[in-house]
Symmetry: C2
Subunit: 200 residues, 2 copies
DNA sequence: GCCGAAGATGACCGACTGGTCAACTTGCTA
DNA sequence: TAGCAAGTTGACCAGTCGGTCATCTTCGGC
């Protein structure tokens, strides 16, 4: 085992944090089309500094996206201890929708498609979602043929509808999440024509 | 009123049609990021020719997107005469999903956001969707507080979920469209927390 | 077959991108 | 406080993009 690396300099730590915050904001506003130059400017740093901290643009995208998935996974783990499985599932989908809404759905999807690190974070989130769905099913809240991946994808869907609407409709997703959750109920459920996906 | 313009030359007509077909395919594959050069090559034409027929890239995007919305509006008008309003609504959502899936959801959204012509086509489609929803509601198939814009947005949503899934899952949207339509039923409907949008 | 006009062409332009690097500055350790 | 590794900088590079335009080709009326 090599000796512990010298700790990072304080200015490097500060710049790295500023870069992550700036990247988060720029990616949220403009998706993966956000330019490195713009992120650097927002962080108050030269462009070369970005590449010192993140070898490629993809690495920066992955860092931001992984943080988001990890944040949601923590929420799911906490809710898995909740005494009311139905409320826990609703709260989880709302929290997920809020993060997706804030960070940008297509950004997170693109990130998990081109980075195995992000895909890993996403899969851990999926596993936590499965736990919540299974608990809700045992409670009679959701139909038998629905999985965690289904719920995550449908939550993404409701956020997308809000983003697709005209002008700012920041919480239109609440309307559609309500309809979707109603559609998950076991009463009056139509048989589903296509099998559930393995991953969201 | 000026005298009728001389009819277009046959080669111009042929090239315009080839360009529209090529643009449709390229936009479907790569969204608005598709390059003019790629579209020109696919159409077997030089780049300058593209700009002779469409002054800007946006004009080309608008032409392709408008065609799609008009195609869906025609479907809706036909279904408005159908004797079974519930089946008509289901068929309309399926047809819409298929077009969105084929042409690319984000492409169509981007197109209608930056071109008033496309927005007009989209609004005509919305009006036709409203007719279908109203008929279904009178038949007791959908809850009272749902509009045509809701149904269109939710249909977009199910397509988005399929696109967000891993690998090719070309008809996963059928699974989620079933869940969503179940969620539209009047029985066991939870009150909706946010008003419906004016446009989809 | 001739000829004018409409159309097609592709080299070219400027703007912008992600990424590199040699020169310079700064924080930390001894 | 001296010295050096770590960190920062911005000019620069190659590539791509949408868009222009002088030049050439082709259609179609006579």
């Amino acid at each position: 085992m090599p000796p512990a690396a010298r700790p990072a300099r304080v200015d490097a730590v500060r710049n790295r944090a500023a870069l992550l915050a700036a990247a988060e904001a720029e990616f949220a506003e403009r998706g993966t089309d956000a330019s490195i130059a713009g992120i650097a400017q927002r962080a108050g740093v030269a462009k070369g500094t970005v590449f010192r901290h993140f070898a490629t643009k993809d690495d920066l995208v992955a860092a931001v996206a992984s943080d988001r998935f990890a944040q949601l996974e923590a929420v799911a783990r906490r809710l898995a201890e909740s005494p009311d499985p139905g409320a826990a599932l609703r709260e989880f989908t709302s929290a997920t929708a809020e993060v997706l809404q804030q960070q940008g759905l297509t950004f997170l999807r693109a990130a998990s498609e081109c980075s195995p690190v992000v895909a890993g974070s996403r899969d851990r989130l999926l596993a936590s979602a499965d736990v919540l769905v299974e608990r809700a099913r045992r409670d009679g809240i959701v139909r038998a043929d629905v999985t965690g991946a289904d719920v995550l994808l449908l939550t993404c869907a409701t956020v997308h509808t809000a983003a697709a609407g005209p002008g700012p409709a920041p919480d239109l997703w609440r309307r559609y999440l309500t309809i979707v959750v109603d559609g998950l109920r076991p009463e009056s459920a139509s048989p589903l024509p296509v099998p559930a996906p393995q991953q969201p």
